[in-house]
């Protein structure tokens, strides 16, 4: 911010001869048009109209330059606190961070904040550029006192490589060329440092991790597991384990970018072929059996919140980690960190740009490592299921005492524990049950407004199926709330729990062989998606009983709409709470037009088409 960032980038590009002449010419025109009296290098990097108008950087811009020694990408990120989320985007993939300090102002709050964010995102190398030395007479004392002060602060950060360079970006001192104005400085100019800093050892070449991205099966004879090597090295002939199944096999072939190779390492995109035919799908991970990640469903992490809608405890979010996407919730905020002072504070929510240490509970465990050891398998993003916005970014913390490693021993102990619990059903296969019942069990999930006719339809379907000799049962919203779920109300959280319990019951009934007809308003898309996940994609049949609010209100069989209108029932779907209509239901029934018999007919026709009924 006003400390010469754009001038430094411009100087770096210009002096290393990396600006095209036509860009330089249009830069001169732009600068003149904006009323600047000299070339404003900021206009080179601030690519958006509103950025040039306001003279600030809003979003990260990527600029390329190269020297005979190295190829660089500069992520030009905004320094303002309100654009922290854009800064972390740039920082997440950086090898080195340059923090600018105006020599006249010394160490400011923002200088500390930027250093903290760089270390939080695991950038291994830090350069503190003490700029505008020309305005303090190239004074060694000023340089020393600023670097001493910053060093005291940076000692508290995990970043080990921190160096200080005095410079004047405006005049080009110590940017590309060594300055003759500061003979007391015996370190390298910035560009020489950038060209020589050792980054090869930043790569984790020890812990082999291949998150499976895609399964390639072009024909009967070929089955390959495609993915990007996150860390470590794998060789043809290596013994490997597929996680979380724990199945062991051997690497038969490695294809990297279309060619057979003997070994692979990060960040290569490869395809592995294994000796044995084992079931592996997207979201699984291939590693060496003796070096495996954690398998954790409860994780502790540092997160940065990036959404204008604050983080809500216990609300359901989507978490994307490597190639695995799961649902989960943040169950606790241990504290938030003031990035300016590093002080910890209690918090029950995180606002835009706030950083906190949290616990998260995931519906399926993830295969992860500590972020400090592995940027690829230690990072995740948090997505808001309603807006689909990337709402947060997280970094897994080492809690070895809490997490379990996905060792073959641990995985098999988990399996035998599970088989103990299900032993009594273990002797009857699903095929036997299907023969017994004459159908494959599914859950027909009816969703729609109160008064749309779901229950009537559900019981009619039950009657028809029973007449045809199928064992089935209706789970009805009102009935369940009288018993199993009588402790729940109608808040978003309680509605979520209501649906979760019903879905678990439906799943059990399906496993016992019954067809379930579930009749629930289930207004939120996310809740229905959750039910689908629990019951299983192949067993979940979504039926949309479509009726307008007006029609339902007219019918109002239970007098609920009248009471909701009077304000006696809060959070009433269709009146004071939203209903997300399903986007692509398996069956849609127009409640205003079709009769109950027609509705039953369409549902049964769909079940026959699915080959649920013979």
């Amino acid at each position: 911010m006003d400390d010469g960032k754009s001038t430094l980038i411009g100087r770096l590009l210009h002096d290393s001869k990396n600006i095209y002449e036509d860009h330089l010419a249009s830069l001169a025109t732009d600068s003149r048009n904006a009323g600047r009296d000299k070339i404003d290098f900021a206009m080179l990097t601030d690519g958006l109209k509103s950025e040039r108008e306001q003279g600030i950087t809003i979003d990260v811009a990527y600029r390329h330059f190269s020297t005979p020694k190295r190829r660089f990408i500069i992520a030009d990120t905004p320094g303002h606190e309100q654009y922290t989320r854009n800064m972390v985007s740039g920082a997440s993939t950086a090898n080195l961070a340059i923090i600018l300090i105006d020599a006249r102002n010394g160490v400011l709050t923002q200088s500390r904040r930027h250093g903290f964010i760089a270390s939080l995102l695991g950038i291994p190398h830090l350069v503190v550029a003490i700029n505008k030395m020309d305005l303090v007479d190239y004074s060694e004392d000023v340089f020393k006192s600023i670097s001493d002060e910053y060093r005291e602060f940076s000692a508290k950060l995990p970043t080990r490589d921190v160096i200080f360079i005095p410079m004047s970006a405006f005049y080009g001192d110590n940017v590309v060329m060594r300055s003759d104005k500061m003979p007391w400085y015996d370190g390298p100019p910035l560009l020489s440092h950038l060209e020589s800093v050792h980054i090869a050892s930043d790569q984790n070449l020890i812990d082999f991790r291949l998150p499976v991205q895609y399964v390639l099966r072009p024909n009967q004879d070929f089955r390959g597991f495609a993915g990007t090597v996150a860390s470590g090295v794998v060789r043809v002939g290596n013994e490997v384990v597929a996680l979380p199944s724990g199945r062991i096999s051997r690497v038969q072939r490695i294809i990297a970018a279309g060619e057979d190779v003997e070994h692979a390492f990060p960040p290569q995109s490869v395809t592995l072929c294994l000796d044995d035919e084992i079931d592996i799908s997207r979201g699984d991970m291939i590693t060496h059996p003796a070096n495996v990640p954690w398998l954790a469903g409860d994780i502790e992490a540092l997160i940065i919140w990036m959404d204008t809608r604050p983080l809500q405890i216990n609300r359901q979010y989507i978490i994307k980690h490597t190639t695995r996407t799961v649902r989960g919730r943040i169950s606790e905020i241990k504290y938030k960190i003031d990035p300016n002072t590093l002080h910890r504070q209690d918090a029950d929510s995180l606002q835009l740009n706030e950083i906190g240490r949290i616990n998260a509970q995931l519906m399926r465990p993830i295969l992860c490592d500590e972020y400090a050891n592995n940027r690829q398998t230690g990072s995740f993003i948090i997505i808001d299921p309603q807006t689909n916005f990337t709402a947060g970014a997280g970094m897994v913390i080492d809690r070895s005492h809490k997490y379990e490693r996905a060792t073959p021993q641990y995985l098999s102990s988990q399996k035998s524990a599970a088989s103990n619990l299900t032993r009594h059903t273990g002797h009857v296969s699903i095929e036997e049950r299907e023969r017994l019942f004459g159908h494959s069990p599914v859950t027909v999930w009816l969703t729609g407004l109160s008064g749309s006719g779901k229950s009537t339809l559900a019981y009619a379907v039950e009657k028809k199926l029973t007449e045809k000799g199928h064992a089935c049962f209706v789970l009805d919203g009102d009935n369940v709330r009288h018993g199993l779920n009588r402790d729940l109300g109608f808040s978003a959280e309680d509605r979520f729990e209501n649906i979760r319990r019903v879905a678990e019951i439906a799943k059990l009934m399906n496993e016992s062989g019954l067809i379930v007809i579930a009749s629930f308003i289930s207004p939120l898309k996310t809740d229905r998606a959750n039910a689908r996940e629990i019951i299983g994609q192949g067993r979940f049949v979504e039926v949309f009983v479509d009726a307008s609010v007006e029609l339902c209100e007219q019918r109002d069989p239970k007098g609920l709409y009248a009471r909701a209108r009077k304000g006696e029932i809060p959070d009433f779907t269709g009146i004071s709470a939203p209903y997300d209509p399903p986007e692509s239901p398996a069956v849609r029934i127009d409640s205003g037009k079709s009769t109950v018999a027609q509705g039953v007919k369409s549902i049964l026709a769909h079940l026959r088409q699915m080959r649920v009924l013979s």
């Binding site: 095209y20 979003d59 190829r71 990007t228 970018a257 997505i383 990337t390 970014a393």
Partner: protein, 301 residues
């Protein structure tokens, strides 16, 4: 000792393959925008590598303005035949029949119809939820701001001030019905990288990139090729010049540069000492203030 470090080109290649695979794994109907140019050639090669020994699991889509150079059509058909790609061509016939052209309407309106609107029509018609484009961040300043996964709303529009944060290589491809994601697997490539890759992988490109003597005319500081139907102004005199095309677009709006680089190796050499950017020859980048940003907001690639 073996080295466990990837070269710059191999690193870029690996990143692009990762992006292409991620899209195929997460989207229902991806498509690759194919513009016949060098970047498209590279993108298709990367897609082949990503799914080898299988075939590319999505179609290529050429949004054809009907104003491309004849050499481009010829190359397109041969390239797609030889690479076994499934090419779909979309032309906005209504606008083409109405005679939309840059001479009468100006480049801004012509692009809006034959490119932007045509593209939106094509994406909607094919119900594509993800579209790969060959744009690079080094091409132009508003492109330097673009994410790898760029979100478009249901009207195909881009909002540069409210982009989803993008960290690590964790791309957020979640969308609602009607919305889509534009994906740029070549985001981190430069023009020189593209040529180096074409060289090292021996990738075919349209011969117009190579220098030869062509019939040209100077127009507003640009070298424009002369064809039978080129409308010449009074003061304009065609002349024979050694030149080549650094980028390929529609014939009325694409200029050439004087050059003697007649093969890929010579182009690489020329690139290393280039003093001007590649898009200097594209009229449409300069037709209004912040012109590329404006076009992109409306749905242009």
């Amino acid at each position: 000792m073996e080295t466990l470090q990837l070269s710059n080109l191999k690193t870029l290649e690996a990143e692009s393959i990762h992006i292409i695979r991620e899209v195929v794994a997460e989207f229902e109907r991806p498509v690759m925008l194919y513009s016949v140019g060098k970047d498209s050639s590279v993108m298709v090669r990367l897609a082949q590598k990503a799914f080898a020994p299988g075939k590319i699991p999505f179609p290529l889509l050429h949004v054809d303005t009907s104003m491309k150079f004849p050499e481009m059509y010829e190359f397109r058909d041969q390239f797609c035949r030889e690479s076994g790609a499934d090419l779909r061509v979309y032309r906005f016939e209504e606008a083409i029949a109405a005679g939309v052209n840059p001479w009468d309407l100006g480049t801004v309106k012509c692009c809006a119809q034959l490119k932007t609107q045509a593209l939106l029509n094509a994406l909607q018609e094919g119900q594509y939820d993800a579209a790969f484009g060959g744009a690079r961040r080094d091409e132009e300043k508003s492109r330097a701001k673009e994410r790898v996964y760029s979100f478009s709303d249901e009207f195909g529009q881009w909002d540069p001030k409210n982009q989803r944060p993008e960290l690590w290589s964790l791309y957020n491809g979640r969308i609602r019905k009607g919305e889509s994601i534009r994906v740029f697997p070549l985001s981190n490539w430069t023009e020189l990288d593209v040529w180096m890759y074409i060289y090292s992988e021996n990738i075919p490109v349209v011969p117009m990139y190579f220098a030869k003597e062509r019939e040209m005319v100077q127009r507003e500081g640009r070298l424009v090729p002369v064809y039978e139907n080129t409308q010449l102004q009074e003061c304009e005199k065609p002349e024979k010049l050694m030149c080549r095309f650094r980028t390929l677009g529609c014939y009325p709006c694409t200029g050439a540069v004087e050059s003697t680089a007649a093969n890929v190796a010579e182009i690489v050499e020329e690139m290393m000492v280039a003093r001007n950017s590649e898009r200097i020859t594209r009229l449409i980048d300069h037709d209004q203030d912040s012109s590329m940003e404006q076009k992109k907001r409306e749905g242009y690639f």
